[in-house]
């Protein structure tokens, strides 16, 4: 009897002892160049710390589905994960899925990036990767037409008109409703408008409507056929095939359009410039597309904190920017001349401009962002279909504003910011 008890106690001690020592964390990353970079360096981290890191890599919408299911059922085993602040940040925070990162040193991050990392007065996620809106253009076509790179929207329209031919579209940008919302945002800002102002939808203002009309007109007159069903997946191949003269989209695509293995256009013929200025301003979006967070439900918070500090370190950020051209959020990465020297100078210049003048949101920043994007998308499509001349546009926008405001009220975000 006694010996049995001792065996049992010993066994229990063994199990618990092993439990305390089993240093293992589960990390979910997106199919993203930075996720690939992490996977490459994680063995070094494991060696140095003795913590075993189980990495799962998922496509971004699968990642969101998976995290949402795990957290909502309160049965997640995730410790650290990559997250999209503008798309899911607010919802994750409101549901209490992010662990506050009070012991993390955020002094190396631009203030605009911290705007989406902080809720209340506590930071909840580490900004990882940024992107900003740029104008990609074909240097050879501009040279042939004797044009210079447009600096204003008026010049942009003139250039689009001059470069447009039966074979080549003068101008392209996303036209597919919800997907176009992010790319339209900079146009709205440059016209002096906004999607949301202090937690209230205002994209039916004159400024915003002017921007939507201008965007619709450019795409209808000089855009590729079928542009209302095109997102970046459709426009990038056209640009790579040499069928587009100018394309406004996020800076993240630069690498792929100058890669000879992917593009028919010679790299030397591809230029990257700041988005032209609008009548009121020049504030392209400059957003944190990816961040990293610790799960509130994590059972290994100490290890998770240690991991996230390593995974978002300045050292790795420099390796990512210098080695893999990933536009990192950390200031120190962009301040290091040895790192920046490896990047394309035009890209670096556009980053500097956007970091200084950029708007930290490229979409209505709210929990129900998906629904709101669908609603705004309808206004964009109407504008493109009528080349910006629609009589109904103002009424349509007013109606959608009302619906977006209802969404904001549903989640208690109306008038809050």
């Amino acid at each position: 009897m006694k010996s049995k008890l001792i065996t049992l106690l010993l066994l229990a001690a063994l199990v618990f002892g092993a439990g305390a020592q089993a240093k293992e964390i589960r990390v979910l990353v997106a199919n993203h160049p930075y996720g690939d970079l992490l996977k490459q360096y994680i063995p070094e981290y494991e060696k140095a710390t003795g913590v075993k890191v189980n990495v799962e890599s998922l496509q971004e919408s699968q990642l969101t589905t998976k995290l949402t299911t795990e957290f909502a059922t309160n049965s997640s085993s995730a410790d650290v994960f990559m997250t999209r602040p503008l798309q899911e940040g607010k919802m994750f925070y409101k549901n209490g899925w992010y662990e506050p990162l009070t012991s993390y040193d955020f002094s190396d991050y631009p203030e605009s990036a911290m705007g989406v990392a902080r809720f209340g007065n506590k930071p909840y996620l580490v900004p990882l990767v940024t992107e900003w809106q740029v104008l990609y253009y074909r240097k050879d076509l501009f040279k042939k037409a004797g044009l210079s790179v447009p600096r204003t929207f008026a010049e942009l329209e003139a250039a689009a008109k001059a470069l447009d031919s039966t074979d080549i579209s003068g101008f392209a940008s996303r036209g597919k409703g919800a997907a176009a919302v992010t790319q339209l945002s900079s146009y709205v800002y440059n016209y002096g408008g906004k999607y949301l102002d202090k937690g209230v939808a205002v994209f039916d203002s004159k400024e915003a409507l002017d921007a939507i009309r201008f965007y619709g007109k450019l795409l209808a007159l000089y855009g590729p056929t079928g542009v209302t069903s095109m997102s970046w997946e459709n426009i990038m191949p056209l640009f790579q095939a040499g069928k587009v003269a100018m394309w406004t989209d996020a800076s993240v695509f630069f690498g792929q359009i100058v890669d000879p293995a992917k593009s028919q256009v010679t790299a030397a013929d591809v230029g990257i410039a700041n988005l032209p200025a609008g009548p009121k301003a020049s504030n392209p979006f400059f957003v944190v597309s990816w961040g990293m967070a610790v799960a509130r439900q994590s059972k290994n918070k100490a290890q998770a904190m240690d991991f996230i500090k390593w995974a978002t370190s300045a050292d790795l950020a420099k390796k990512a920017l210098g080695g893999a051209s990933i536009p990192m959020s950390r200031n120190s990465a962009w301040a290091d001349p040895a790192v920046v020297a490896k990047a394309n100078p035009e890209l670096v210049a556009s980053q500097a401009f956007a970091a200084k003048n950029g708007n930290p949101f490229d979409r209505p920043y709210m929990s129900a962002v998906g629904n709101a994007r669908d609603l705004i998308g309808e206004v964009i499509i109407e504008s493109i279909n009528t080349a910006g001349t629609s009589q109904k546009l103002a009424d349509l926008a007013k109606q959608k504003v009302k619906q977006v405001n209802e969404l904001l009220e549903d989640t208690g975000e109306y008038g809050m910011y």
Partner: protein, 271 residues
């Protein structure tokens, strides 16, 4: 003579009308899987190009797709196998004892959107520590396979004359014995049909595996997304993976095609 020639030409044209739209995406996929990214996005599309096998190398060597094949195969075969084990007797009982309510109940389980099962399953499987296990995936895929088996087989069993088993029972066989050695062999075409259909549905299922599997038990439809990353799609590899995934399903269908058609019509007419 003339008319029959015209008829044949017309028939051929009609065939072409149907075959071209059906086969076009498939051919596009097949040709793209041998193209470079530049050739894939080229406009106008390149009919003549120098084929490469790099896409397949990325799929099988770099991503180790054979592992995902193994996962899909284990899940599909086990789910179908267990579904037959439970579904065949159930279908027989429904057919012979007119348990219509039961069959409707099973159909309802199939008609409910799969996503409504996912949350409860996730809670149960994670509490049981069955996440990322074959058990969880096989059980979930039985939701796909079992109703197919029951529905095809119950109408199939109904079409088999009652006299067959009655005469066996007169000769002293039990009902179980009659079921096993008389009814099941007669029902082979129906069984093959239900195996083929339920296996293909399990093979293609995305939703259940997406949530219930992780790295170890990832199935093929999920693994295709390994080639879709943020702001970048590796079309060549996606196409190559799609070809690889479709091939077993196509072979299976071709082998069992005549059974499938026969089995389906048997059920349909007599059901």
């Amino acid at each position: 003579m003339r008319t029959s020639a015209t008829k044949r030409i017309l028939f051929f044209l009609l065939m072409l009308c149907i075959a071209v739209p059906v086969l076009f995406p498939f051919l596009w996929m097949l040709s793209s899987s041998f193209k470079t990214q530049v050739d894939i996005v080229a406009w106008p599309p390149r009919i003549i190009f120098s084929p490469i096998i790099d896409n397949y190398i990325r799929v099988f060597a770099e991503q180790n797709f054979l592992r995902y094949f193994k996962n899909s195969l284990i899940v599909g075969l086990c789910a179908v196998g267990f579904s037959l084990l439970l579904g065949l007797p159930a279908a027989y009982s429904i057919a012979r004892f007119k348990q219509k309510k039961l069959s409707v109940f099973i159909l309802v389980a199939r008609l409910m959107p799969g996503i409504s099962f996912l949350m409860p399953w996730y809670i149960i499987f994670s509490r049981l520590r069955l996440m990322d296990s074959y058990v969880a995936l096989i059980l979930s895929h039985m939701l796909i396979a079992l109703p197919i088996v029951v529905w095809i087989m119950s109408s199939y069993f109904e079409s088999i004359p009652l006299e067959m088993e009655e005469s066996a029972m007169v000769d002293g066989a039990t009902r179980q014995k009659a079921f096993l050695s008389i009814i099941l062999p007669i029902a082979t075409p129906g069984i093959v049909t239900s195996i083929t259909l339920s296996f293909i549905f399990s093979w293609n299922n995305f939703m259940f595996s997406q949530v219930l599997s992780m790295e170890k038990t990832k199935t093929l439809p999920i693994a295709v997304y390994n080639f879709v990353s943020y702001a970048e799609v590796d079309w060549g590899a996606v196409m190559a993976a799609a070809v690889a995934i479709m091939t077993p399903a196509i072979i299976l269908t071709m082998i069992f095609q005549k059974y499938v058609v026969k089995g389906l019509t048997m059920g349909a007419v007599k059901g």
